[in-house]
């Protein structure tokens, strides 16, 4: 605690107090939602309509506009969870625990989307639904890591212990992700597996690249909305006996 200036720690504790966070989330959500929808509109228009067909893969490459951003999100959310886990473990911040556990289902969902769209993209390219390609395999392992977190949280009854357990696990996972990633990639080159598309970002034409980035940003704002909504729910569940929740139920009547 002592390494942090008092003012910063005071700010954190004020923001981190549940009712304050709840109100703040309410204020942010509409804005995040609007930005998400705008980016989504641009991204979809650019990706599905404006961008030309790929000269090798034809129109099927348009799956890239959800597959790749979803794969990015799956990793991004896991890293965020590990950061939340570190904060929760070091400063015992309840809010970080809540954000961590609220992120897990949506992270798993993005991982699942990346897997399924990868498979749907692969079918016309490879002729089979599943090929042990490096990205898909890593993504599958990442899904297992997410499922581990979710089921561990569900299995421990005392939710404070559960949050601590999950924080530890997320940190362990994040140390392992690069190792897993590189080992899988190495294994893949060794067995000469196929790879989805050609993902050299530099070689991508701007008319194709810009929508991809727009979709990636859109997904981040989407995640922002979902994680805040889920965190609000989680806070209510955890603190259902607290006074601020009672005030809330009265005003909502």
């Amino acid at each position: 605690m002592s390494i942090i200036p008092a003012a910063v720690s005071r700010f954190f504790h004020r923001t981190a107090s549940s009712p304050h966070f709840y109100a703040l989330a309410d204020r942010f959500i509409p804005w995040l939602l609007v930005i998400f929808l705008v980016l989504l509109g641009f991204g979809l228009y650019g990706g599905l309509y404006q961008a030309p067909a790929d000269y090798q893969q034809g129109e099927s490459y348009r799956i890239i506009y959800i597959h790749v951003p979803a794969a990015w999100m799956s990793l991004f959310i896991y890293v965020l969870m590990a950061i939340m886990g570190a904060i929760a473990l070091i400063w015992h911040m309840k809010l970080a625990e809540v954000m961590l556990i609220s992120s897990a289902p949506i992270g798993a969902a993005f991982t699942f989307i990346a897997l399924v769209t990868g498979s749907l993209w692969g079918k016309p390219m490879w002729g089979t639904w599943w090929v042990w390609d490096a990205r898909l395999t890593s993504e599958l392992i990442l899904l297992f890591l997410y499922l581990g977190i979710i089921s561990l949280y569900g299995a421990i009854e005392d939710k404070r212990s559960a949050a601590r357990a999950v924080s530890i696990l997320a940190l362990v996972g994040v140390v392992n992700i690069p190792i897993i990633h590189y080992s899988v990639q190495w294994w893949n080159t060794l067995h000469q597996g196929p790879t989805v598309g050609k993902m050299g970002k530099s070689s991508m034409h701007p008319s194709m690249l810009v929508p991809l980035l727009e979709m990636a940003m859109a997904f981040k704002f989407y995640y922002g909305v979902v994680v805040l909504q889920t965190a609000k729910l989680e806070l209510l569940k955890r603190e259902s006996t607290a006074q601020w929740v009672k005030n809330l139920t009265e005003t909502s009547e």
């Binding site: 297992f144 299995a155 530890i168 940190l171 362990v172 899988v184």
Partner: protein, 224 residues
């Protein structure tokens, strides 16, 4: 000095305990042999097929056998209150945990290494790959105990933690599985394996340094 003696005391205690429960101790070993035996029965006994599959089969079986033995690592200490006493010891829990992991490796990993030549024989693994199989087991089985310890520590308080334990631990074993079985495979076809062994060594050193912390933290959480 007293830190070393505490470490040694816990290793000695766990070895003594394992010796007094030796019937239980042999189970993962039987399991290891049994799983390996199942493969020829399932895929047929063509020597070529078995030979190519041997490194993978042995390593997957080792993984599963280790998984089976993990549950016992902290279970009895958790149930009889010894773990609480270790938490209150004047030594840091991570050192004691490292001692427990080391003892666990001695009673589960080392037997796997000793019985591996027999299984290699069953599957017709080339003689040239034998020393590499040994080396990968020597470097790899401690990692099975180290990484597994985190998972056990997280689930030891759960009534039915076994399923979740495998879900937590198996994905973390994947890099080890990849490098270890690949090294054996390469050795079988007469290729150099120093790169793989170096990677395994690096991973082992990393695991020795890093895993006791989360394990200790997870045990504290479980005792709660």
């Amino acid at each position: 000095m007293s830190l070393t003696s505490a470490f040694l005391a816990i290793v000695r205690r766990d070895l003594l305990l394992a010796f007094r429960r030796r019937a239980e101790m042999a189970n993962p070993l039987f399991f290891f042999v049994l799983v390996v035996t199942l493969f020829p029965l399932a895929v047929g006994a063509q020597p070529n097929l078995l030979q190519t599959m041997a490194p993978g089969v042995i390593w997957v079986s080792a993984l599963l056998a280790a998984l089976l033995s993990l549950d016992g690592m902290f279970r009895s200490d958790f149930e009889d209150g010894s773990l609480e006493q270790m938490l209150l010891s004047r030594h840091s829990l991570s050192i004691l945990v490292l001692g427990k992991i080391f003892a666990h490796w001695l009673v589960t990993g080392v037997p796997l290494m000793l019985i591996a030549p027999l299984l290699a024989l069953f599957l017709g693994l080339q003689d040239t790959a034998m020393s590499t199989l040994w080396l990968t087991l020597l470097l790899g089985t401690p990692m099975l105990s180290l990484i597994g310890a985190i998972g056990v520590a997280l689930t030891v308080g759960l009534r039915r933690g076994g399923m979740i334990l495998s879900l937590l631990v198996l994905p973390l074993y994947i890099p080890l599985l990849i490098f270890a079985s690949n090294a054996v495979e390469r050795a079988a076809s007469g290729l150099p394996v120093t790169a793989q062994l170096n990677i395994l060594l690096a991973m082992l050193s990393l695991a020795v340094v890093l895993t006791p912390w989360p394990t200790a933290a997870a045990l504290k959480m479980s005792v709660n």
